[in-house]
């Protein structure tokens, strides 16, 4: 640790020297509106970003952990990216059309795009990535591209996806981590997982990997041959590995790093850092992943199989308290299975509010009367072993369920044990959260449909929830081309799920992103910190 921080201080000192002049000169007063103060973007500058934990590799096709995405999103690109409303924006594809019947997706690619090793990028690379590479190594991409009858390239700059049946969510399957485009000339015919090129990722993105000092930093430099003229602006991006949470907050506060994302900053530190004048704070840029947290309930255990019991849990807890006191204000109370920032969310659904009397009435109706100690039922809760915020949540739930007569026994576990037990259905209640990937067909239905009850698979329907009507609606909606009809089906499924309470939804989670005010155009889309950063620039002094 001391070795790393020593080394880090050295580097920080060097970059501090480079910035000494701008730091000393008077900055633009904050009340001047950004439009007036905005300087014309100019080349140059170094951005320091926290990366935590250190990614195991940067080959985005093979590894999609959060930190890998943030770093490799600057190196690799997908065909599309998505704005805050999750509508598609051009990336490697400059334009696209979807046929009337929803079966044919035609992408026109940018011309003159080169890989970092100088080789030209063509539609061949897209074909290779989507028919060979990704289906073998990337489970989410495999499911999406398996829906294609054919993927063809009429010329070097056109790719045509022909679907077996309509799947409107398909347009949201091309984000950089969902379908990164991999260079065919380096991977075709090789053992993908053991290809030596994995250590030196070659992409089409605005930044190239220069150096990776394990345990310390990852250094990216500007791709001089980037296909957008004049871009990117930044010369360097350093991703700094800082394992200790307090050191991360301090590095951000002192200006040694310019950006933090996801869980880098603990919720309890957020309020303090929001007050730091040199930092901008936002929770935007996570619309594409749109996480929702919940209590995962094993429907195979009595009395958890009764929806009245699950509703009682919903009524017994105060989710505003959870947001305000446990997550320190980060998040939104979830009204149901769909994150409100995703497509097809039905805003007419009213979230359950805390109501102890209703909870007790439901339990009474089930015939669960309190015994001498006031206990109606005993359940086991195994909080997710993802740090102490989740532990506090477990303690809170134990106390609030006690108020309605549900005795909770807390169980401890570690990450491996948790995954093992939950995926093999060996639990009663646990806490969990998943990403929704922009469309219910991509990230929501998997939790609730009965053909995804798969023992041993994490983030599947581990509850064992099964409702034929829900299955039917999710399947039909995924294929429905007509937006209004699709919405009607998704609205109906949301109503059914909210009544059934297959899981007890807690929060639409928000992650805090802090960015130094010196940098502009940083969080611009729904993909947020995983974007390419090709238009990020440093303010002039």
């Amino acid at each position: 640790m001391s070795f790393i921080s020593y080394r880090f201080r050295h580097l920080a000192a060097a970059s501090l020297l480079a910035l000494a002049v701008p730091a000393l000169s008077p900055s633009v007063p904050s009340f001047v509106s950004p439009a007036l103060a905005a300087d014309t973007p100019a080349r140059g500058g170094t951005m320091n970003i926290i990366v935590q934990p250190e990614p195991p590799m940067l080959q985005l096709g093979l590894n999609q952990q959060g930190p890998t995405q943030t770093v490799a999103g600057k190196i690799y690109q997908g065909l599309l990216t998505y704005d805050e409303k999750l509508d598609p924006l051009p990336s490697l594809a400059k334009s696209w059309t979807v046929s009337e019947d929803g079966l044919t997706y035609t992408f026109k690619l940018h011309e003159n795009v080169k890989w970092h090793d100088g080789k030209p990028f063509t539609s061949k690379d897209v074909i290779f990535s989507t028919t060979k590479f990704l289906p073998e190594v990337h489970s989410r991409a495999r499911a999406n591209f398996a829906r294609c009858e054919s993927i063809t390239a009429p010329d070097d700059n056109t790719v045509v996806f022909k679907l077996k049946e309509p799947f409107p969510a398909f347009i949201r399957a091309f984000e950089v981590a969902s379908a990164p485009i991999i260079p065919a000339h380096l991977y075709e015919g090789t053992d993908y997982r053991n290809n030596p090129a994995n250590a030196t990722p070659i992409g089409t993105g605005p930044f190239k990997l220069k150096e990776w000092v394990k345990g310390s930093y990852i250094h990216l430099v500007r791709n001089e041959d980037y296909y957008k003229p004049g871009l990117p602006y930044l010369d360097n991006i350093y991703f700094r590995v800082i394992p200790d949470a307090a050191s991360r907050a301090l590095a951000l506060e002192s200006g040694q790093v310019d950006q933090s994302q996801y869980n880098d900053i603990e919720p309890f530190d957020v309020a303090r850092l929001k007050e730091v004048k040199s930092l901008n704070f936002t929770t935007k840029g996570y619309e594409f992943i749109a996480p929702v947290s919940w209590l995962e309930i094993n429907h195979r255990v009595k009395p958890l199989d009764d929806k009245r019991f699950r509703q009682a849990i919903m009524y017994a807890i105060d989710r505003e308290f959870i947001r305000d006191k446990i997550w320190f204000g980060l998040g939104k109370v979830a009204s149901g299975p769909f994150n409100s920032s995703t497509k097809h969310f039905d805003s007419s659904i009213v979230p359950y509010a805390k109501n102890v009397d209703k909870a007790k009435a439901l339990l009474d109706e089930m015939g669960l009367k309190p015994d001498a100690k006031g206990v109606r039922a005993t359940v086991k809760l195994m909080p997710m072993p993802y740090g102490e915020t989740w532990q506090r949540l477990g303690e809170y739930l134990k106390q609030s369920l006690k108020q309605v007569g549900i005795n909770v026994v807390l169980e401890s576990t570690d990450v491996a044990g948790w995954v093992q037990r939950v995926s093999n259905w060996d639990y009663e209640i646990t806490t969990n959260f998943t990403y929704q990937y922009g469309d219910p067909a991509l990230g929501v239905s998997r939790t609730y449909v009965s053909d995804n009850i798969r023992k041993g698979v994490m983030f599947s329907n581990t509850m064992g929830y099964s409702n034929p009507k829900v299955d039917e609606l999710f399947t039909a909606a995924a294929k429905e081309n007509d937006a209004a009809k699709r919405q009607a089906m998704y609205s109906e499924v949301q109503k059914i799920l909210v009544d059934d309470v297959p899981v007890v939804w807690l929060l639409e989670m928000q992650f805090p992103t802090f960015v130094s005010k010196k940098f502009n155009n940083v969080i611009t889309t729904g993909v947020g910190v995983n974007e390419s950063y090709d238009s990020v620039y440093l303010s002039k002094p």
Binding site: E266, F268, R272, K325, I326, E388, Q391, R392, G394, E395, Y396, K398, Q399, K402, V409, L410, E411, S412, T413, D414
Partner: protein, 281 residues
């Protein structure tokens, strides 16, 4: 009666030991009457979160979820003392019986037991305790077992030393000649004469056990259904910059209790080894 009052006089000569006894008495009272003074569960969120000390209804303030810190400390005393006493008892049982056998029988038995003891002594105490608790999932029982397992080796060595030296004394030889059984000799003849150093180190061991339990809870390896001081410090350390009192008071409780037990140990040492005490002063 005479010896007993002599013991108290010797003990009371050590002012620190008297102070320690007073503090421990308070802790014991807290543990005994926590259920009366704070009938609510210490996990109950009784008040607004983040209340500073001296607030209405929360003398020592509340924690991040609005739990009463005073209630937590009172109920935590129960947990700390329970773990301290029981794990020391178990450690005494293992350590003294193994040490006694090694010292009394000598030879191969001694060698075997001492090598076995060394096996435990080469592994760092705390690391072994963490591993044991992690493997057997945290609960009061697994914590007590883990602490006992890491604490007995010094007791075994101490008991062996005492037995080894007493074994060759005339009164033991006499007992052997009169045909007393080995067990009788160990329990009736040698053990009572080797008790004083064992009692002193046992009192120190209670303090160590409380510290170990606090450290385990601090790391999140405590029993999740039992309030304990270590847990309170561990849970509050993240907000120490916003709310010092959440970790300060339980930390103070640990400090005072452990210090007091150490002082008592010293006092006992003075009282039980009067010659040693006079030399020291």
């Amino acid at each position: 009666m005479k010896t007993s009052s002599g013991f108290w006089v010797a003990y009371a000569r050590n002012k620190g030991a008297v102070f320690g006894l007073a503090i421990v008495a308070v802790v014991v009272l807290m543990a005994l009457f926590s259920g009366v003074v704070f009938p609510e569960s210490p996990w109950e969120m009784v008040n607004a979160p983040f209340l500073p000390p001296m607030s209405d209804g929360a003398l020592l303030g509340t924690d991040t979820l609005g739990r009463d810190i005073a209630a937590g400390i009172a109920h935590g005393a129960r947990m700390s003392l329970w773990i301290g006493l029981v794990s020391t008892g178990v450690a005494l049982l293992i350590g003294v019986s193994l040490g006694a056998m090694a010292g009394f029988f000598g030879g191969v038995v001694d060698d075997a037991i001492m090598r076995f003891t060394e096996l435990f002594q080469t592994i760092p105490n705390f690391v072994l305790a963490v591993v044991l608790v992690a493997i057997f999932t945290p609960s009061s029982t697994s914590i007590i077992a883990a602490i006992a397992i890491v604490s007995w080796p010094p007791l075994a060595r101490l008991a062996r030393g005492e037995f080894l030296s007493l074994r060759s004394r005339e009164f033991v030889q006499a007992a052997i000649t009169t045909g007393q059984s080995n067990l009788t000799i160990i329990v009736r003849q040698i053990l009572p004469n080797s008790l004083s150093p064992i009692i002193v180190s046992a009192s120190l061991m209670v303090a160590t056990a409380i510290l170990l339990e606090s450290s385990l809870s601090f790391l999140g390896l405590g029993d999740p259904n039992q309030m304990s001081w270590g847990y309170m410090v561990g849970a509050a350390r993240t907000v120490i910059r916003q709310a010092w009192w959440m970790s300060f008071f339980p930390g103070l409780a640990i400090l005072l209790t452990v210090l007091s037990l150490n002082l008592i140990g010293e006092g006992l040492n003075d009282a039980l080894n009067p010659k040693l005490a006079r030399k020291g002063r």
